[in-house]
């Protein structure tokens, strides 16, 4: 239908976006790849030259890498478990007829709009601080010894903070999905004598499955690169107890000034993310047809 002229115009209109994104994707990534094969330390200008796979070798055999990998996966899985199950529960609850539904909704989604540095510091100081935090005051009131969450269970504490930020997201998406459920279909099933349980299993669950998949995939993308929360709460510590891949690459590059090693880590992070992205793209691509 479109004429040849409008096709040319369309191409001209799309190209700025394409060129910019192409540049954004290829230029820095190519540089990272290039640096990852160099001996390149900002503090030691005399050192240089081609390093082969040495940077990769050192990065991957560094004990911190294995810990960071486990931490990354624990963080992603921990947050996903809390937000998906919590989100399903909350969405089902909020979908019921209640008084003031709008207000409750507003309260529940609020944490999502809090910037990561604020939520991390609020939790770290006002709640988890072993001397002045709310939890310490509560423990003391009950005659218990206050617990230093970020020193003794740093990763678990970060999981709680990040889950608090993402629970609103899963709840909101699952609630939106629930509310788009076909009411007539529900009523028809009820008329035909389907029990509450059967209606839930055969109508609600299949309908929610898609939304749950979307939640898992999109959250995974963001959770793989959690950074600010770790930076302001624990700095990856104690030791490397709460270091994830993103933080390790940052520490290697901008704290140790090891451009080569940091770049190798960056490339590894990109590969990991791509494995996940592959599944995300397939999922969203399918929905695009529908």
């Amino acid at each position: 239908m479109a004429t040849k002229a409008s096709r040319t115009a369309a191409r001209a209109m799309v190209s700025p976006a394409v060129i910019l994104l192409l540049g954004w994707m290829i230029v820095p990534l190519a540089m990272t790849l290039y640096f990852s094969f160099l001996r390149y330390n900002l503090l030691n200008p005399t050192q240089g030259g081609f390093a082969g796979f040495d940077n990769y070798y050192y990065f991957l055999t560094n004990p911190a890498f294995f810990q960071a990998l486990t931490n990354t996966l624990t963080l992603v899985l921990g947050v996903l478990v809390i937000t998906v199950f919590g989100g399903i529960g909350l969405a089902l609850l909020l979908d019921q007829p209640i008084w003031g539904q709008g207000v409750v909704r507003v309260l529940v989604i609020a944490p999502f709009f809090v910037m990561p540095t604020v939520s991390a510091l609020v939790w770290k100081n006002m709640f988890m601080n072993p001397v002045n935090g709310m939890f310490a005051h509560m423990a003391k009131a009950m005659g218990l010894q206050p617990y230093d969450f970020l020193a003794h269970a740093p990763l678990a504490s970060i999981i709680v903070i990040v889950a608090w930020q993402w629970l609103p997201f899963s709840t909101l998406i699952l609630l939106t999905a629930l509310q788009s459920l076909d009411r007539e279909q529900q009523e028809a099933a009820e008329m035909d004598g389907a029990s509450v349980f059967n209606r839930f299993v055969y109508l609600t669950v299949p309908h929610l499955t898609r939304a749950v998949t979307v939640v898992i995939l999109i959250q995974t993308i963001f959770l793989l690169s959690v950074f600010a929360e770790i930076l302001v709460t624990t700095n990856g510590g104690p030791g490397t107890a709460s270091t994830n891949i993103s933080y390790l690459v940052y520490a290697q590059s901008l704290l140790n000034y090891d451009v080569g090693g940091g770049s190798a880590g960056g490339i590894i992070a990109v590969i990991l993310a791509n494995i996940v992205a592959f599944f995300v793209m397939r999922m969203i691509g399918k929905n695009l047809d529908a």
């Binding site: 007829p97 939106t176 690169s225 793209m281 969203i284």
Partner: protein
């Protein structure tokens, strides 16, 4: 009888929902409450703090001791600047893809989305070095450029899903009546696209306001937006609860209010149209 049980049930669900909602909101509420008490009272414990006199002094102190207004302004410039820049690039692209789709339009959209999935640490070093060499470290324009590129795929996608919903027949009709491409865009498309564009702007300002990787890496003081400014409170000498609360409250309040207006768009924008 049946009616009575439903009323009881409704009351119970209401109580449950409100309790959970209150618990989830509590950290924010507590931060706001704490910001209205003095530094000494803030660490006395929950009940003692609530009983202590209320004061605005922390708000004054934050502005007094640091250049809070500057960081707030940086956040405004960076989030709105990057959103507007992304719009200028994305509107023509989304328009073309929605109304003149070609064989490769779908692949192009998917490819744009895939750039969003590249982890930022993967390009941290080259970006840092380029910023250093071009003197862009700690400048607002540098950050606007990066955030524009980061959010461009989401902007294109959101606009695309909104433009897709505008019936193509209307454009055909305008074209039949001899409307030029320019007037087609200005007089037919724009009025119908405004709600979608507004939603896109809203979501993007929120995302850019809260972006906390590049803002932390690429700014230190002059161009530091609120994310970076608040992060400076993580050092031990920054352990001033009331001031941290006041700074945090001012940092999240505007975006919280915007966010509450954008619930619907949020779902659509963040799921790339997969859930509406």
């Amino acid at each position: 009888m049946a009616r009575k049980t439903t009323q009881t049930r409704k009351a119970l669900t209401t109580v449950a929902a409100w309790s959970i909602g209150f618990l989830i909101f509590f950290p924010i509420l507590w931060t706001v409450l704490m910001s209205f008490h003095s530094e000494g009272d803030a660490i006395k414990g929950p009940f003692a703090m609530l009983a202590s006199p209320w004061t605005f002094e922390s708000y004054g102190e934050v502005q007094h001791r640091s250049n809070y207004a500057l960081h707030f302004w940086n956040s405004v410039v960076i989030s709105f600047g990057s959103t507007l820049a992304a719009l200028v690039i994305a509107i023509p692209a989304a328009w073309a893809m929605a109304f003149v789709p070609g064989r490769r339009t779908k692949d192009l959209l998917m490819w744009m989305l895939s750039t969003k999935m590249m982890p930022s640490v993967g390009v941290l070093i080259p970006m840092y070095l380029m910023f250093r060499d071009f003197g862009l470290l700690d400048t607002r324009s540098g950050l606007v450029a990066v955030l524009t590129l980061i959010n461009l795929p989401i902007v294109v996608w959101m606009l695309y899903t909104y433009f897709k919903e505008i019936p193509g027949e209307i454009l055909e009709a305008a074209r039949m009546d001899g409307a030029s491409l320019r007037s087609e865009i200005l007089h037919v498309l724009t009025p119908m696209a405004v709600p979608g564009i507004a939603s896109t702007v809203l979501l993007n300002v929120i995302l850019a306001w809260n972006e906390a990787f590049w803002t932390l890496q690429l700014t230190t003081s002059d161009a530091a937006p609120l994310t970076q400014f608040i992060a400076s409170y993580s050092s031990p000498e920054g352990l001033f609860y009331a001031k941290l609360s006041a700074a945090s409250t001012m940092a999240i309040a505007p975006i919280l209010i915007l966010g509450w207006f954008s619930q619907k768009q949020l779902v659509r924008g963040l799921t790339f149209g997969a859930v509406k």
